[in-house]
């Protein structure tokens, strides 16, 4: 129960107007900090749903695939330049961003992750590696401003950030492929 409370509290703090303004003023923080934090808040809060509706998850998300798919859809959706821009321009899109990352990405991620087998977990990592690397490549190579609300320099920063993120996940994948963690436990 404590875990869900922390999740809810994190969500509330992230929704405070000064926090929103601060986190969204810098593009890379908007994408690589605010959005993941919303997902984390949702994942922590997911415990609440699991305790109260265990049958629901077991019945609809037994193998974790529908849940993780929903998570991936939401995550990819918010990495489209336009949706990020629209969230800054239209309050209704902003509300949807908060709710969807919290409830439709974070909550199902929590429930699905432990249901997935290793191959599926690695597929998700590989997918995000590709997503981040290609996003990094895109943002670094497009000289046009993709988001009207941010400066070009912010865009380049985001490009490097995303590429770095992609590289980190790739290193993690290589590490787990070539080492056997059970030896160290």
């Amino acid at each position: 129960m404590k875990q869900s409370l922390i999740g809810l509290l994190l969500f509330i703090v992230l929704s405070l107007p000064p926090v929103v303004t601060l986190l969204e003023s810098i593009m890379i923080i908007h994408m690589h900090m605010q959005m993941p934090l919303l997902v984390i808040a949702g994942a922590l809060f997911g415990r609440y749903f699991q305790i109260h509706f265990p049958h629901f998850w077991e019945k609809w998300n037994g193998n974790g695939i529908p849940g993780i798919t929903l998570f991936v859809i939401i995550a990819v959706y918010w990495s489209i330049p336009r949706t990020m821009d629209d969230a800054l321009t239209y309050p209704s899109v902003e509300v949807f961003k908060f709710m969807s990352l919290f409830l439709l990405a974070g909550v199902p991620l929590y429930d699905s992750w432990k249901r997935l087998n290793v191959t599926l977990k690695n597929s998700v990592f590989i997918l995000f590696t590709i997503l981040f690397l290609s996003m990094g490549w895109l943002y670094l190579n497009v000289t046009q401003q993709l988001c009207n609300n941010y400066l070009l320099i912010d865009q380049i920063t985001l490009g490097w950030g995303s590429a770095a993120m992609g590289v980190c996940i790739a290193i993690y994948l290589l590490y787990t492929t070539f080492t056997d963690p059970s030896q160290y436990e």
Binding site: N61, P66, I73, R82, Q145, N148, N149
Partner: protein, 210 residues
């Protein structure tokens, strides 16, 4: 074993995702807000508002002076060192591709500065020397009245963000306004030949009627 419920859940999730992406990208067409803006402008074809321009020669006149002619409009500021010089250079290359007989008669090139404070007539005059702008068939001007400037930027969807160093970030395009003062084309400023071809074609069609 995959049971029916999970299959159904998967179908629902995918349907939801498909709908979300479809709606969020206007039917998989537009992935940037800029793309959405251009599409909307082309649909609405807004009128160029009536404003007072002050050009590099120090002359002031109403924008309706150009009624009956096409106007190719760009937005820039002279202190800009990034996109604007390229934008104006590309405008120059479009300018060179328009047959001389049309220039000034059927079409006017107009570069509008949104940095009203710094871009007075003298600054604009020295800036236009870098380009083939002659101050007549291709004019550089500012809009002294801030309310009028705001209304024009708003109608054309130009978003200007000032940064800490006295520069501005802004979205750029070639805006083509027709003889009746309606915005008819918003063109990619990096596709010079395409823009020039579109303009020449329109001029040839409209040339006989004039």
């Amino acid at each position: 074993m995959v049971n029916n419920n999970q299959g159904l859940a998967m179908v629902l999730v995918l349907l939801f995702g498909g709908t979300l992406f479809y709606l969020g990208t206007d039917g998989f067409q537009v992935f940037t807000a800029e793309g959405a803006r251009v599409n909307q402008l082309m649909e609405e074809k807004p009128q160029f508002p009536e404003i007072t321009l002050e050009d590099s020669e120090g002359q002031s006149y109403l924008s309706s002076t150009f009624k009956g002619k096409y106007m190719l409009v760009t937005f820039f500021y002279t202190a800009c060192s990034t996109v604007c010089p390229q934008l104006e250079r590309n405008m120059e290359r479009v300018y060179e591709r328009i047959p001389k007989t049309y220039l000034g008669e059927d079409i006017v090139f107009l570069s509008i500065s949104f940095d009203t404070d710094r871009d007075g007539p003298a600054t604009l005059r020295s800036y236009q020397k870098y380009f083939k702008s002659d101050g007549e068939t291709w004019r550089m001007a500012r809009i002294p009245n801030p309310v009028e400037l705001e209304s024009l930027l708003d109608v054309f969807g130009v978003i200007v963000i000032p940064d800490e160093n006295g520069n501005f970030a802004h979205n750029s395009a070639f805006y083509l306004v027709n003889q009746k003062g309606a915005l008819t084309e918003v063109m990619d400023y990096t596709k010079i030949e395409e823009a020039a071809d579109t303009i020449v074609e329109l001029l040839e069609q409209g040339g006989g009627k004039k």
